[in-house]
Structure formats: C-alpha cells, structure tokens
Symmetry: C2
Subunit: 319 residues, 2 copies
C-alpha cells in the first residue's frame, strides 16, 4: 500500500507519495500562501494529491495540520497559524473533490505516528514525541495507541506547566514547556534580556532581524553569556517536563523532533540528567531521550502514517 | 460474576465479596500488622479470601496494593509502606494457596478501575483519578484503557512537578503535586510554619500530636491564618496539576478520591478556577472535577474491579 502524506504548514505545503516501506516515490513542495484563503489551499492540496497519485485510485491521503483537529468529521477546528480556519472541513473537501479517503490529524500527533511507522519508535509500544518548532507539539503513544483524549484534542504536551511563576504563554497559562523550548518562547525570553545583553551574538547572528532558535545554540557554543542563560532555561524546562512525562507515561523513549531537535547533541545528556532528577526513583534511567532520525521529512512521514495507522491499526493487548 | 476485592493497606486489610452490580455480599476487615512479616500477611489474605468466597470456586481475587506492581508476574516490586517487600510474589502466593485466579494492581490504578466500574466514571472513556491520601496516587484511563506505560509503572500523577522550586518530595524530586496535596506533604509544610504560627488551630486540633489533613480544612473554615496558607498552596498545586492533566489527557472527568477528597466541597470550585487558568484555551471548562461517590469503600471496589476489568475488558475503538 502507498499513501500520500501532506504536511500543511503556515509557509509550505510539503507532500509525498510514500510506500509502506517508507520510500518517497514522488515528492511535491508548494507555497501555502495562507492569505489566498482556505478554499484555494484546499484546491491546491487536491491538485497535489492528483499529481502525486497519478492514476492510482487506491491511494489514500493523510493530512497533518497545525491546530486543533476534529478527526471524525475531518475539520480543522482552530489553528493559530491558519487564521479564519474555524471548523473548516478540509479533509471532507479534499475527499469529495479527489474521490479518495482522506484522514486528518494534528501535525504533532501525526509526527508521533511517523515515528511509530518509520522512525525511532518502530516496535515501541510506549513513547512520547515532542516537536520543538515555532511551538511545542506533542504526541503520546501508550499501548501502541495514540493518546487522543475524550474530546479528541489531548496530547498538548507543550502546555504542561513546568513553572507556574514562569512567563505568560501564548495559550494564556504561565510557564508552559513551550515558553522555554520553542522558537516563539525563546524569542520572547531573548527580548526580555536585550537591554542587559545588547551585544549578544544571538542578535548579531539573526538574519535580517528574524529570530531563529538555532542562533541561540550556535551562540551558546561560542560562550555567549545570554545564550548560556537561554540554554540553561531550555535544558531545565525540558528536564522538568520530561521528568513528569516519564512519571505519567513510563515510556520507553522520548523522541525529539522539529527544528530545535537538530541541536540535540548539544543538550541531550544535560536534559536527561535534569529529567532523572524529576522522576520517581523506580523510573530513573528507565527511558531514552533520542533525536528523531526522520529529519526534515518527519512531517510528511507523519502525515502518510495517519493512513497506515488508520488502515492497519496495531491491536495490542492491554497489559 | 462475583469477585473478591482486597485492599491491602499499611494499617488494615479490607476486603469484600462484590457482585458485578456493585453489591457488597460479605465484608471483612483485619489489621495488617506489617511487622508480622509478608508471609503472615499473605496467609492472612488467603484466609480472608476463603472466608468470603465460602465454597464458591468460581470467585477470583483482585488485590490493590500500594507501591510499584509487576502485574504480569504478580509481584509487589517495591512499596514505601511495606518495607522489605522487594519483588514479593504476593498474587502468585495467594493464587497457589487458594487455588484461585488472583490479580494485583497498584491501589491508585485499582481506584481508577473502581470508578470505571462502579463510580463516577461509568460510561466514561477518558478520565483521571487522583487519590489524595498519605501520598497522591493516580490512575488515568484513556480510550477505556488504564494507562500502564511501557515498563508497567506509569500513571504516577502525584509526582508531576507543579513547581520545580518547591519543597523536596519523598521521591527525590522537588515540588511534586504530592508535596501539597497529600497528608504527608501537608504535614511537612505545616511544620515549616510552626515557629511562625505556634498557636495555629491545626496544632491544637491534632489528636495526640498526630497530624491529619482534615485538621487543616477544619481550621481553614474557622479562618486560621496558617490553615489559609496551606489551603492556598493546596488549591494552587491541584489547579496547576489538573490544568496540565487536562492538556495532556483531555479527560471528561477528574475524580478525586482518598481521605482528603472528603473536604472537596471546600475547594472544588477554587481548584477548577486555577485549573482553567492553566489549560489551553480550547480545553477551558472542557472537564468536570468531581468527588468520588464510592467513599470509604472506594479501595475495595477498586480491588474487585481489577477482576472485572481483566475478565471483561472494554474493547473500545481507537478514535
């Protein structure tokens, strides 16, 4: 079986025809152009799907979308990156127009399915994925099943509170993991310190005034004092959150995905040390923290895996 | 089908023969006498089982035990309340000696099963139970299945970190929910303030110098200043933790069980308010917080439910 995975992002729509063995048979990448409107974007996805599937009518489609998803009815309920997409029936529209089965899932949850089918979680019944990007997304798999929650929007691991006296988060809470471990959160932290460290390499390395989290990690490597502060907060927050996640899920693996995971070699061991200080004794060192091996294709693999997972769900015995 | 539920506590062993409809057909309560040794306690449980089952050979047994449980092999791996019980094959022993099927589960996870079968979670596929007693135990049910984790010891919700700069917890971490929402945690907090509030009603209401959490709540009702501090910390920690739990599990209900839940009317609304400040926007007010209706029988119901749940697992479709 082949499936089309569509990664719908605020900037790009990336898609591929993926085989069950994880081969990319054809690939396509277009600009999202959010301002062109949701109807145009849906039409764009239909065109991509037809181009990738060619004449193969058996191919189904998985869409990974940011935001809150109603997977049963195929709706994007709400997405901070796609304004005006309130309850937009994206999957239903693409399905009607393409005559294909179309599944939709939150992008971070799709990333977890991607790890299960093609990545670090193959053969793993219990794991957690954290996608460290503009925000922090999460996907938890327990007993082989993706955690969805009663209302269908659970798994928001980026909004675990790691410090209730921490900064205000975009979600309205304070001190969420996302405040320390996403590029949006790090940007805000860095701005708070600008007056005190105006000459930080972080500001000098910004390309065109655009903040990117990678600048923090490269400046950290050069001994930049502000970068060391932000890095320290990142490591601590990640450790505290992963400690709690271990206590809750007792997972075999914590898999880091998303742009910030590319710097994992700089922080993985330190995060693990802090996490081990925050687990109960019997779970110390019971888990691995690893970087996703799916790299820049993680989101497309994730989207295609929605199809594989719905069509061939692993049924695992309750322990 | 009837089942025997055995609640193994540090002080008492409480057991009952429970019908599938939730009727207590016979009941038995004996002292645990931990000092008499684990072999004697196992023998005691065998005797109770035979007395309750009478001659009915079809009756199976569920044991709810504090600590870390190896449910597959029927072991108590480790329990803070039962010293020297390292990898003690309690369920296997009781099974061999009684000739019956015996299941064992952590007591807080058993409490969650009790709510699913006989309590506030009937008909509910996604819920969380917090047992607020000497410690804080937890049980999360998602998609109708108890969260166990890859290593079998997940669901330690009492050790979510709610404030990393909080007090040292018995588990070695800092600022766990248990530090604020259990009687052991509250006792330590109260002691820290003794010099400052030597005349607090909390100390005067202690019976024989023995701290009980209920004294905090009754002193709070009388306007005692120290009780107000401890109460405030309790409400805040519960709210922060439940906010994170909602973000993670998107549950229909949070059910409070254990001794401290008997004062729920004094704090339920306030905890819900703080919890709503710590969920993402789309989960605000998506959940109920309720007090268990199983009261002092919750643990026995929970233990009996282990049997019902293993023998008739709800199989629910993955959403």
């Amino acid at each position: 079986m082949n499936a089309i995975g569509v990664d719908l992002g605020g900037t790009n729509i990336k898609a591929a025809l993926v085989s069950e063995e994880g081969k990319f048979l054809r690939k396509k990448n277009v600009k999202t152009e959010v301002a062109s409107g949701k109807e145009k974007i849906a039409a764009k996805i239909v065109a991509i799907v037809e181009e990738l599937a060619e004449e193969d009518r058996s191919v189904s489609v998985g869409i990974g979308s940011p935001g809150s998803i109603d997977r049963k009815n195929g709706l994007v309920r709400f997405s901070p990156n796609l304004p005006d997409w309130l309850d937009f029936p994206l999957a239903r529209l693409v399905s009607e127009r393409s005559g294909r089965e179309v599944f939709i899932e939150n992008d971070a949850k799709a990333a977890a399915l991607g790890e299960k089918w093609f990545g670090e979680a193959r053969g793993c019944e219990s794991f957690v994925v954290l996608t460290l990007g503009t925000g922090v997304g999460g996907g938890a798999v327990t007993n082989g099943q993706l955690l969805i929650g009663g209302g269908g929007i659970g798994g928001e691991l980026g909004h675990m509170c790691v410090d209730p006296s921490g900064p205000l988060c975009g979600c309205g809470s304070h001190g969420c993991l996302e405040c320390y471990a996403s590029s949006s959160g790090m940007r805000k932290l860095v701005e708070e310190y600008r007056m005190r460290y105006p000459n930080s390499l972080i500001f000098r390395e910004q390309s065109g005034g655009q903040f990117e989290a990678v600048a923090v990690f490269s400046a950290y490597q050069k001994g930049d004092p502000l970068a060391e502060i932000i890095y320290g907060k990142f490591v601590f927050a990640m450790g505290v959150a992963i400690g709690s996640l271990v206590n809750i899920f007792n997972p075999e693996k914590i898999i880091l995905s998303g742009g910030i995971s590319s710097s994992a070699s700089l922080y993985l061991e330190k995060v693990k040390k802090v996490a081990n200080e925050h687990t109960i004794l019997s779970m110390m060192n019971s888990f691995e923290i690893v970087q996703s091996s799916l790299k820049e294709n993680a989101a497309i693999y994730g989207a295609a895996s929605i199809v594989f997972d719905r069509k061939q769900p692993h049924t695992s015995e309750v322990q």
